[in-house]
């Protein structure tokens, strides 16, 4: 099975087989949370989920690669926890959904730290979903509310 990698520069690399991916991981171009796309099926997976791909020690303990060709910067290795959006939704927009978003969001970083990337990604997606519903519902509710207010009270 071969995989595509999307770099920080937005360019798609590959398809690369597992030995090539392992070489990239050693060079720090790939981390466990990097998203890969399976060739053929176009299924999106975490690098950590690819059978046969291993990540050794954290980068600070790894010996830096010497010589060889230079590559583009490594794809980023964090899972976006959507905390900024969740806070804004809670305080400015739509309370109950915002609080749900903050709670999901707060679970993302600890999961990433313990290496449970798939669960982290799931919580992050939940946080994003609740925050986005909060924005939508908040806008609709407030527009209807304002319209009802102006209709009954007149523009003041």
């Amino acid at each position: 099975m071969r995989y595509y990698v999307t770099g920080d520069d937005g360019q798609r690399y590959g398809p690369a087989d597992v030995p090539t991916l392992n070489a990239w991981a050693r060079e720090g171009r790939l981390v466990a949370t990097t998203r890969l796309v399976e060739e053929g099926t176009e299924r999106s997976v975490f690098a950590a989920e690819v059978p046969g791909l291993s990540f050794g020690a954290p980068s600070e303990f790894r010996t830096p690669p010497t010589g060889g060709p230079t590559y583009q910067t490594a794809p980023s290795g964090t899972v976006d926890n959507h905390l900024v959006k969740s806070i804004l939704v809670t305080l400015c927009c739509c309370l109950p959904l915002g609080i749900a978003a903050i709670v999901f969001s707060s679970q993302v970083n600890p999961l990433v730290q313990s290496g449970r990337y798939a669960e982290a990604q799931e919580k992050a997606a939940q946080a994003d979903k609740w925050a986005n519903w909060g924005i939508g519902l908040g806008i609709v509710t407030n527009l209807v509310w304002l319209a009802a207010n102006f209709a009954t009270l007149g523009l003041r």
């Binding site: 937005g10 964090t78 899972v79 976006d80 926890n81 959507h82 905390l83 900024v84 959006k85 969740s86 806070i87 804004l88 809670t90 305080l91 400015c92 927009c93 739509c94 309370l95 609080i99 903050i102 709670v103 969001s105 707060s106 679970q107 993302v108 970083n109 600890p110 994003d128 509710t141 407030n142 509310w145 304002l146 207010n149 102006f150």
Partner: protein, 101 residues
């Protein structure tokens, strides 16, 4: 000002309740008054400033917007926001100062 739908319909004070009054107090340099109306306004302003910078950055670099905050901030904020939401609705005189006026 039109009243807040959430407060009018439920009678509850949400963690963002009093935010507009807190902003108004802050603009008149009344920090204590601002914190009384809504103690989480500084957090909201920080989030809004961060979002503004990140959105401009993302548009410039044609990348998706990052809403990420690293470290343990999420847990602390979740606890603080939920505690604030609950406590300012406890009908005891002790918490009157936590409700906007």
């Amino acid at each position: 000002m039109p009243k807040c739908a959430f407060h009018e319909l439920t009678g509850l004070y949400c963690p963002g309740c009093g935010g507009t009054r807190a902003m108004r107090a802050l603009l008149s340099a009344d920090v204590a008054g601002s914190l009384h109306q809504n103690a989480l306004l500084p957090l909201a302003l920080l989030a809004a400033a961060t979002a503004t910078v990140r959105i401009i950055d993302a548009l410039r670099q044609r990348k998706p917007v990052s809403w990420h905050v690293s470290g343990g901030a999420g847990r602390v904020i979740a606890i603080v926001v939920i505690a604030y939401a609950v406590l300012r609705n406890v009908p005891l005189p002790l918490f009157d100062a936590w409700r906007p006026t």
